[in-house]
Symmetry: C2
């Protein structure tokens, strides 16, 4: 793909598989894992958008904990300190999806700069990237935290332009969250939506440029066919 010098990746759900959190939810409350983790995730995102609009930013670890407390209360599940610590701890030790390491290595070998831009706070992202052994391949880890507002506010995507010192036309943005891909497209990045579940496209006035099923499709799209 002509002119792309950097790729910026969303973290949770894009590079990192949150399935282990779902599994732990189900271990702690058998039969309730899926329902709890879905409500937890929905509230987590909802709180990022609402706090952004209200101008009452709190970092992602706080929002994640608040969302967990809400979800447990709504489902009548008792959240004690031990369970809370285990669930929040699981967020720092997520596995990457199986195709991630190979795809990133190919892109890095082709001299594409690789970065993360996440809602996660620096204190959440640091152990996450280290645990997955991505420190050597992901050169830059960026958080919305410096702007005190969450995705998809345009100022968040601008962090990547500024920190990578690269014009937005030369940056590709990769996310498994359809709304995040729309937000990045609206800002001006070339966007790749990883639609692993075959979800319908969101109608937000800015559609992703490319829809793929996994990161393994990314190198060919970005680098062109191997000659």
């Amino acid at each position: 793909m002509r002119g792309l010098r950097a790729l910026v990746f969303d973290a949770y759900g894009t590079l990192f598989d949150v399935h282990s959190v779902v599994r732990l939810c189900d271990e702690l409350w058998p039969g309730k894992g899926t329902q709890l983790s879905q409500l937890w995730r929905a509230k987590q995102l909802e709180y990022t958008w609402l706090r952004s609009l209200m101008r009452r930013y709190q970092d992602f670890s706080r929002v994640t904990e608040d969302a967990l407390a809400y979800a447990c209360a709504a489902l009548g599940l008792t959240l004690d300190d031990t369970r809370r610590a285990r669930l929040l701890g699981a967020y720092r030790e997520l596995a990457t999806f199986p195709e991630v390491a190979g795809a990133l290595a190919t892109l890095k070998a082709a001299k594409i700069r690789l970065a993360i831009l996440s809602n996660g706070s620096p204190a959440m992202l640091r152990p996450l990237v280290a645990h997955a052994g991505l420190g050597g391949v992901i050169g830059t880890v960026l958080s919305v935290d410096s702007r005190k507002i969450y995705k998809p506010a345009p100022t968040v995507y601008r962090v990547a332009v500024e920190r990578l010192r690269t014009p937005k036309s030369a940056i590709g943005f990769v996310s498994s969250n359809g709304w995040d891909a729309c937000g990045a497209k609206s800002f001006g990045f070339r966007t790749f939506w990883i639609n692993r579940s075959g979800a319908p496209a969101d109608a937000l006035g800015a559609a992703p440029d490319h829809v793929i099923r996994g990161l393994d499709e990314l190198p060919a799209l970005v680098l062109g066919p191997v000659s």
Copy 2:
């Protein structure tokens, strides 16, 4: 309650019962009504927050239609023109909750000014208020549309201050949406959260002043005990 000169009400779910929309969903797709209407509502709100953050405002009728299309696609339901028109039409003919007329009449008799402040566009709110026969009791109908951004952005709540020419300390805000009550409180209104379903409180850094189960509890709270 000392000093409250005006009460501003949210519309959908607060004064107007959206149950008839749920029923129509179930009539059109038997057995799917609850699931469809829940996803439709969730997406409708999500799109208002996302478009606000992306600065890609479209009015509430458009967002409502987009959310319906998404929800039907996600559930594998075929949405033809007739069904779409019936579902969107139902939004203009919602019934009020049973206690609304009595509570509003009591408040109006006590010289409290009554207004609506809604995400709905003027073209949606006009027929809704007329159909419910509230034109005589609700003196002012306000929409976020003049600001081109949705609740809970502070500028939206400021519309009520400006249009009612009343300081925010003298305005009470009433909503069945917990996040809306938090947003109004964060702006500076005295807020009343109508928690009909016994939901947990949202953790958004600004808690409602009062939690009630229905509008029938409002006159005594606002006017004090009848002497």
